[in-house]
């Protein structure tokens, strides 16, 4: 297995991008990444693209060929593959690209992620997202994604004394981080009171506990570490890449307050990277809802089980805290174009480890982690990066 590095990154502005299409966004991010890596189309061996549901959101499938075509690569006839694992599609595309390079099968590989969600009504978007849960045995009875995470939150509150104010602190922090990130969907500071006053979606989760519906695309370029310096002064090594699965339906899980897929993926990724959780300097975790960030920092081993709410309240996970989490603003405030999210996480960590994260830079960050979840925890991906 060869060591793999990121040699170029690109990401569009996230948000309601009514003026651009799926293909516009993916080529915009792609050009940024290719220019960043200083490569040409002829250097590329393969493309992987994470996309959850273009079929539902823009009535377009066959996204692999589409992105190669609109990236201007059609005459090179490159292999281009779309992968899907609901909201973890981006993380999965990154992992497929890592495997292609690590195995020696390919040298220069593109990992892309894209979702265009605002071409349909918010009700249709919610229904498309609900397809990440068990359509027959959850959604059919009226389950929504906020409802599934709300039920995890209720049990976490009962078992560990977590409060809604602690969950709200996650949203407050991630909105603050997003204000420092030019590509973020929201550039507005919020307070715990704002979260409390926003309408309830599924008790105890309010609108401001939820990530938004977003458009966006992100791209990273991978190369074998041994030749990465030819393209880039500060290649970022991918020292751990792991994926795990669990039951599709939340109700079938061993424990409703732990994402076992995260625990298993993290354990494998830490072992590959030969590090422990306390060595991580900066992490992007899957905060589709505020409770999800609390579960994630527990399941990734950053804090003890049940201590996640307290960590948010005490500022441990804010910029300047012991372990800054979601410096991009996270899914909550940077935005969550589902297929793009996993690649955007890698983009943010690469900027942090290169020292190019501007006003949200974590000082001397050397090791970063990205955590991407599909559905309510049926899939999890953990990647670990090193300068």
């Amino acid at each position: 297995m060869r060591s793999v590095s990121i040699i170029g990154v690109g990401c569009t502005k996230f948000g309601e991008r009514w003026d651009v299409s799926l293909r516009d966004m993916v080529s915009e991010a792609g050009v940024m990444a290719i220019e960043d890596a200083e490569i040409t189309g002829e250097d590329i061996d393969a493309l992987f693209v994470g996309n959850m549901s273009a079929g539902r959101f823009v009535e377009q499938e066959h996204i692999g060929a589409l992105i190669a075509d609109f990236a201007g690569l059609s005459r090179l006839h490159l292999p281009s593959t779309r992968v899907e694992a609901a909201c973890a599609s981006g993380g999965l595309a990154l992992r497929q690209a890592v495997l292609a390079v690590a195995s020696g099968y390919n040298d220069i590989v593109i990992a892309a992620g894209v979702e265009k969600m605002t071409d349909v009504s918010s009700g249709s978007a919610a229904d498309a997202l609900a397809a990440a849960a068990d359509r027959e045995w959850e959604c059919f009875f009226g389950a929504t994604f906020p409802a599934l995470y709300a039920m995890m939150a209720k049990l976490h509150m009962r078992r560990f004394g977590t409060t809604h104010d602690q969950m709200a602190e996650v949203a407050v922090k991630n909105h603050h981080h997003a204000c420092l990130n030019p590509i973020a969907q929201y550039h507005t500071e919020i307070t715990v009171e704002d979260v409390d006053r926003s309408p309830v979606v599924a008790d105890p989760l309010h609108v401001l506990d939820c990530s938004p519906i977003s458009d966006g695309a992100a791209v990273v370029v991978l190369a074998p570490t041994e030749i990465a310096k030819r393209f880039c002064d500060t290649p970022i090594r991918i020292v751990g890449s792991a994926q795990a699965s669990d039951t599709l339906a939340l109700h079938d899980r061993r424990d409703l307050t732990t994402l076992d897929a995260t625990v298993h993926a993290a354990r494998k990724a830490y072992a590959q990277a030969r590090i422990t959780p306390d060595q991580v300097d900066v992490a992007e975790v899957h905060d589709c809802f505020t409770i999800a960030e609390i579960l994630a920092i527990e399941d990734l081993g950053f804090v003890e089980k049940g201590e996640g709410g307290k960590a948010a309240e005490e500022g441990l996970t804010a910029l300047g805290g012991r372990l800054p989490i979601n410096t991009s603003g996270g899914l909550k405030a940077c935005g969550h174009p589902v297929g793009a999210t996993g690649i955007k996480q890698a983009y943010e960590i690469a900027l942090q480890l290169r020292g190019e994260a501007g006003r949200r830079q974590v000082e001397d960050a050397e090791i970063g982690l990205a955590h991407n979840v599909g559905g309510s925890g049926g899939t999890a991906l953990v990647h670990i990066f090193s300068r």
Partner: protein
């Protein structure tokens, strides 16, 4: 979302009568039915089992904002219920003017789950309601122990 009739028709035994699976080798119960037991990963020792439908609410929420198909029902209660034979299911809780609480005992009720417009199929199936006071008893020795979960 519009569904063609076969998709609903083929799950009528499960949705109306809670028919699931029992693995004789592992003595584990599954709902919905499975063709392979996730414990022993074999299919030969599976038999049909009709669940009683009584159980305990493990966790719950009240939904105020739903997908298009359920928007007109809001607000409604959704819960994860541990059936007395062991498996957990997701379902709506109805007829509960005092709200839903974790640990609440529930029984199955036959209800309309949804319909596809004025001319489309009406879906029926199982929802859950609080156990009437005079029948309310804790889980029996045959039923699952939820104390560890709650």
């Amino acid at each position: 979302m519009t569904t063609h009739a076969p998709r609903f028709w083929r799950s009528i035994p499960q949705r109306y009568n809670l028919k699931g699976t029992h693995c004789k080798r592992c003595d584990e119960y599954y709902f919905p039915p499975r063709n392979l037991c996730p414990n022993c990963r074999r299919g030969a020792d599976l038999e049909e089992h009709t669940f009683k439908g009584t159980g305990t609410v493990i966790t719950c929420t009240t939904i105020y904002s739903a997908t298009e198909d359920f928007e007109r029902m809001t607000p409604y209660h959704l819960a994860i219920i541990q059936l007395d034979e062991g498996p957990k299911v997701t379902g709506q809780i109805v007829s509960c003017p005092d709200g839903v609480k974790m640990g609440m005992r529930v029984r199955p009720v036959f209800r309309i789950l949804g319909k596809e417009g004025e001319r489309g199929i009406i879906y029926y199936g199982t929802k859950f309601a609080p156990m009437p006071k005079d029948e309310e008893k804790g889980p029996t020795k045959d039923s699952a122990d939820c104390s560890g979960i709650l």
